[in-house]
Symmetry: C2
Subunit: 351 residues, 2 copies
DNA sequence: AAAGACTATGCAAAGGTTTGCATTTTCCTA
DNA sequence: TAGGAAAATGCAAACCTTTGCATAGTCTTT
């Protein structure tokens, strides 16, 4: 009785056959006769043989690991995407390694190096808001590691992409605000080099333009981050304007909630005095008073599809080409923080 | 020029020395003379040599991976813990592999098997609310894989543990409610076999008892899950009692917010008619109106400490004994959903 | 000049599995 | 029963690195 786990050689020795035969028996190789296979399988089961994946990894030069790079996981948005990814990858042969870039380009670059070092087989990535150059992702591709970009686009990078039509979501939201009678619509936007927030801004601008409402620069504020606290000052700035906005379209729910917070402090009535619409539909957004109108994104599906695409790439093994670009449609969720719209008066308002 | 990455043998061949010499040169072995080392290092740098971790893993029979098992990551609670873990492990030689058990004992057991298969070096785990038997964790330990339990205790399991004094947190919260004049204090509790929610219930009970307030069975409801929606029905049940509670201590913020939601629907004034206190201090809790009084937990530190402890175990390599048990103190955070307390009137109420 | 000490480097095994090719065994046919 | 085909199994290399031990080389000392 030796220590350590049972190896293929242990089984071979006990059966007085070669390790290669054991290996083949376990993989049901056609050249082996049934008795041998049966004997091997029986003993393997009896000894509770577990193949040594570490050895396999070396042999196959792959780690069976897929790296997932996200800016953070404390928001519901990314954690729900990861849950979707996990649910798909979990039932495959692969493991996932979640890496947090903390919205820092430098950390992201370090993570890429680490993933190269451990020889991941593929990478799912949502770049940081500071990432303008995508060469580190190209390095992965040059090493035959497929890259799937999700949610946040990397313009110019040729890779599979799973995105959300942020432009359409924003356009719809602002279009609704206009229809509901708002004319002085402000925007709390995010970083300008981030595809998602850039497209949301563009949707806002185009919706105004289409309605013939002139763009007012002072109605657009950019927030320094994505959490509640980051929205407070910019929201205050908007709400202290002489010509008070009658609506705010915020780039995410957290910021929308900051705006609601400030509005209430200033004794503004929501939505009578000011409508507020967010983006993301975080789970608690419907529990605020008034409940927050927002734009829902299919986060879980987005995670699942991204995972499926990379699994497909990993099975295909061909040269990387014919990249897919999938775009999910977001949906406007109307609740109580926006006024009712004449043409929609009969629609039910959720919650 | 051969394809694939540069190996130690490539360097050896080019320098006409043995691979072992190259290996030693790169590790600054004292027996080698300086010129050899310099030559090797120079060439290694020139060729951008990257050690093959897969080979090392096989040789050392370790994967350099630490498994982290959590019930979910969509709550701020666990995602913040994971961020703490990541921040510590990230600067070590180890990688972390996050696994979601979805509050299912079966999935947790499957995860353990998977982690054994890939030969993780250590495991950090917060068990599911359905886990009553800890033998699968003991299996890890028998395979010399250190286990660190965090947040949710596994009674009877000998392992390092990083916990929160939920009892004290709950006791303080309820004690405060009593001091603030509440007498009909209800509790929205969680699963009874989960250490955290069990201790919160016990803290509630003992605080009442110490104040000489009789326990009323109808004032205690157990919710089926941890999210907002799970709290609605139980909260409604409490608020439809003939003898209406004048306070609710909820087992977490989500449930507290459900209770606030129902209370408002019933036109109850918070905190005048009813005080509500949660547990967790989620980031958005202070943005509700009224802002939620709750019990804060040092989630980030909890993650960091858990990670440090397992790193320590992994470096120590000795037999597993002298298990540590660290208990963090939570803190009552008073906001506007609870009445002011006579003896505390001068304390500032946060936010 | 030979023995001994020391320095620098190489050899080979180990870690577990897979797989192309070689070899053995079996069985059938002439 | 030899010959050959077919079936079953074994050999050894490969994946890459580390490390105990052996060896080659150099220098010192008597």
């Amino acid at each position: 009785m030796k220590k350590g786990r049972v190896t293929i050689t242990d089984i071979a020795r006990e059966l007085r056959i070669a390790p290669s035969t054991v290996s083949r028996a376990l993989k049901d190789h056609p050249a082996l006769k049934k008795e041998t296979k049966d004997a091997v399988r029986a003993l393997a089961k009896k000894l509770d043989y577990q193949p040594n994946l570490l050895a396999l990894n070396l042999l196959q030069k792959k780690s069976n690991t897929i790296g997932v790079i996200v800016p953070e996981i404390t928001s519901h948005f990314f954690s729900a995407i990861i849950t979707g990814i996990q649910d798909v990858i979990g039932s495959s042969e692969y493991n996932i390694m979640i890496c947090l870039s903390n919205e820092s380009y430098e950390e992201e670059a370090v993570i890429i190096k680490k993933l190269l070092k451990i020889q991941v087989d593929g990478v799912l990535v949502s770049p940081t808001s500071a990432t303008k150059n995508f060469d580190h992702f190209r390095t992965l591709q040059k090493n035959d590691i497929p890259v799937v970009v999700f949610d946040r686009d990397c313009p110019g990078l040729e890779a599979d992409k799973v995105l959300v039509d942020d432009y359409a979501g924003a356009f719809q939201a602002v279009e609704y605000l206009i229809k509901s009678g708002c004319t002085r619509i402000a925007h709390l936007g995010g970083p300008l080099n981030l595809s998602t927030t850039k497209h949301r801004l563009q949707g806002y601008l185009d919706a105004l333009e289409e309605a013939g409402i002139p763009i007012r620069k002072e109605y657009i504020e950019h927030v320094p981050g994505f959490s509640h606290d980051d929205g407070l000052k910019p929201a205050e700035k908007l709400l202290k304007l002489e010509d008070l906005p009658d609506a705010i379209f915020a780039m995410n729910d957290n910021i929308a909630i900051s705006a609601m917070h400030i509005a209430r402090k200033m004794a503004l009535k929501i939505p009578e005095d000011i409508s507020i619409v967010g983006f993301d539909d975080e789970p608690h957004s419907s529990y605020f008073r008034p409940s927050l109108s927002t734009v829902w994104q299919p986060v879980y599906s987005l995670g699942m599809l991204s995972a499926r695409i990379i699994l497909h790439r990993l099975n295909d093994k061909g040269p990387q080409k014919n990249f897919r670009q999938e775009v999910f449609k977001p949906e406007l969720v109307l609740r109580a923080s926006s006024r009712e719209c004449a043409s929609r008066k009969n629609d039910k308002v959720k919650l």
